[in-house]
């Protein structure tokens, strides 16, 4: 591939759609405000916007060319400011291939080339044929000879003996039912419904109250609340189904390949040597059934903040986790030492979730006579503290550490010793008084770090963690 090539023309349209998607909110506001206007002026303006964006998309496509020259990927792009990107093979960390809805219609894929170092944006080729993408990948991965073999392997993946994990239909359904995303969606819906002022006029209200028998003010309020809940639950359900349909993880020699999605197929490559930590999260709706979600923290190439934690398994039974880890990543070895908070920290754990709660309740009470009702939340908050105390655990051996804590969901982090970048002990004056300390261990994640913390450990026990991190021998447990 030594000539500069252009992408498939669909790239012009995807560019257009990306602009639309990024500006969805302003466009929506613009439409709502604009259509209230009776003259045609608005529509001219709108048409101008659409056409100029389309033209920019087409010119952008014309200007975008790429080629592989030796061990270098070269991209020329830019409409007003011309940009030349040069990515050498040894700096390329990951090549992700994604099929969006539009791309799939035309049998195309999007290729994202992510490189090491900060300051350079990842190079994205947004529409080329699948074959071209595979060729590009094999060229850039220095496997030119193997190019054909690889494409064959990808076509017939089910027949080869590649180790793979799939999400079953039943698990997908359970995952969607227990995702707990609806809280977030409900708050978004709530915010939007606040914008619907113009529909909630007195007239409309009386009309509705009149039509539906037995509907009082309170029951209308409750009804709307339940409606928002149901809609957001549906949205979250559908969201999970779309995101994780046909989810699979394949183990290759040096990396894991993750593929998922119904309309938009995503392919993510996670090289083993980029794995910093694994994080098993048992959401509050999943924990009772013994299920959770496994994330992998990776580092080393430029990522958006939401891409640092990659979903490795969207739904797995806790009892099957160890088997998966030993098959796909590495055996979790028995710990030599386990540190848990001492008994004297128990009451601190029970008190801690209540501090902010009491403050909030008092403020609410100040504004609302019945605010004291919320003191009822002291019971679940204390219960949460009790759970946190029981879940706080830190165990390690010479090779790795397992760290367990709970915020609301219970999280278990696994990482190797050489991935623990920094260990830190902190103590506030009250902890100091009780000879307690909070341990923080930071692993690299994306361009920054991710800290895992376990609170209120005994000072002596916690110091063993510092010793562990430097590779010294610590006192082992009998």
């Amino acid at each position: 591939m030594s000539e500069f090539r252009r992408q498939h023309p669909v790239a012009a349209v995807t560019q257009f759609l990306t602009v639309v998607r990024q500006n969805l909110v302003p466009i929506a506001i613009f439409l709502v405000v604009g259509t209230r206007n009776t003259d045609n002026f608005f529509w001219y303006f709108f048409a101008f916007g659409v056409i100029s964006t389309l033209i920019l998309g087409i010119v952008g496509w014309l200007r975008f060319t790429y080629r592989v020259d030796g061990d270098e990927l070269q991209i020329k792009k830019g409409i007003f400011v011309r940009k030349n990107l040069y990515l050498t093979k040894d700096r390329i960390q990951v090549i992700d291939i994604t099929e969006g809805i539009l791309q799939r219609i035309f049998g195309l894929v999007k290729v994202e080339v992510k490189s090491a170092g900060s300051g350079t944006s990842s190079a994205t080729i947004s529409a080329i044929t699948r074959d071209e993408a595979l060729e590009l990948r094999s060229l850039l991965r220095g496997e030119a000879k193997k190019a054909e073999e690889e494409s064959v392997e990808i076509e017939e993946v089910s027949e080869s003996d590649v180790l793979e994990w799939r999400l079953s239909g039943r698990d997908l359904l359970l995952a969607a039912l227990t995702s707990g995303n609806f809280g977030l969606i409900a708050s978004i819906l709530g915010a939007i419904s606040g914008q619907l002022d113009q529909f909630i006029t007195e007239e409309n209200m009386y009309y509705i109250l009149d039509k539906v028998p037995g509907l009082g003010n309170t029951s209308l309020f409750v009804g709307v609340f339940i409606l928002i809940f149901i809609i957001s639950y549906l949205f979250s359900f559908i969201g999970v189904v779309f995101q994780y349909s046909d989810f699979k993880v394949e183990k290759k020699e040096k990396e894991l390949h993750i593929t998922s999605g119904l309309l938009e197929r995503k392919h993510i490559t996670v090289p083993f040597n980029r794995i910093q930590a694994l994080r098993f999260v048992e959401g509050i709706f999943r924990e009772p059934f013994g299920y959770g979600m496994l994330f992998v923290e990776s580092a080393g190439f430029e990522q958006k903040s939401n891409e640092r934690s990659i979903v490795l398994l969207p739904f797995i039974k806790k009892s099957k986790l160890n088997k998966f880890l030993s098959e796909f990543i590495e055996e979790v070895e028995q710990p030599e030492k386990t540190v848990t908070p001492p008994e004297r920290a128990f009451l601190r754990y029970l008190r801690r979730p209540n501090y902010i709660l009491i403050l909030t309740v008092l403020i609410t009470w100040w504004f609302w006579d019945f605010g004291w009702i919320f003191f009822g939340f002291l019971i679940p908050a204390t219960f949460l503290g009790w759970l946190r105390f029981n879940d706080a655990k830190l165990s390690f051996n010479q090779k790795m550490m397992t760290l367990q804590y709970r915020v609301l969901a219970k999280t278990t982090a696994f990482f190797k010793k050489n991935r623990a970048q920094v260990s830190e002990l902190t103590a506030n004056p009250f902890q100091k008084f009780g000879d307690l300390t909070t341990a923080h261990i930071t692993v690299a994640s994306g361009a920054g770090g991710k800290a895992f913390s376990v609170m209120d450990l005994d000072q002596k026990d916690a110091e063993d963690i510092l010793v562990w991190s430097t590779g010294d021998t610590y006192e082992q447990q009998a």
């Binding site: 623990a420 260990s423 002990l425 506030n428 930071t442 920054g448 110091e463 063993d464 991190s469």
Partner: protein, 159 residues
């Protein structure tokens, strides 16, 4: 390794921090200043800016006369073949250990106030975080920087 580190930072740190805190502390007055506007229009009680003004002043005094001393008094560090060991904190005490073979690079830097006192700080970066040893005299800082780089190089060779 479980014993606290011993080396103190340069005592001129107190003076340097007093000066920089005097300057930075001026920003605190923005808050009572802003509160004054709604109070003038009667939107909030006049008592709020009246209380906020002197509170800002007291905080400023603390920043100048109290915190630098405590901060200096607490700061300890050690560097050996195992790692960099830091101990610090005014209210919350922090003990940090950066193992030598996680260190990616070491820099020294010097702001205008530090330059006046011949001080430099060292920042130690890992793949995840950056840590700083503030206020060492220039010579110590340069030596320490060299020493850490040397330790890192040795540790990497061992592996």
């Amino acid at each position: 390794m479980t014993e606290l580190p011993q080396t103190r930072i340069n005592e001129n740190a107190i003076k340097a921090w007093r000066i920089s805190n005097t300057l930075i502390g001026l920003l605190i007055y923005v808050i009572p200043g802003l509160l004054y506007i709604p109070a003038m229009y009667g939107d909030i009680s006049v008592i709020i800016p009246i209380v906020a003004g002197p509170s800002a002043f007291i905080l400023h005094l603390l920043l100048i006369f109290v915190f630098p001393k405590i901060r200096w008094n607490r700061w300890r560090y050690d560097v050996n073949e195992k790692g960099v060991d830091l101990y610090r904190g005014i209210v919350i005490l922090k003990r940090t250990i950066v193992p030598v073979n996680r260190i990616q690079h070491v820099d020294t830097k010097q702001g205008p106030v530090y330059r006046k006192f011949g001080l430099s700080s060292i920042s130690i970066s890992t793949a995840a975080t950056t840590h700083e040893i503030p206020a060492l005299d220039d010579e110590t800082a340069a030596q320490l920087r060299g020493m850490i780089s040397e330790l890192v190089r040795k540790a990497k060779e061992d592996v």
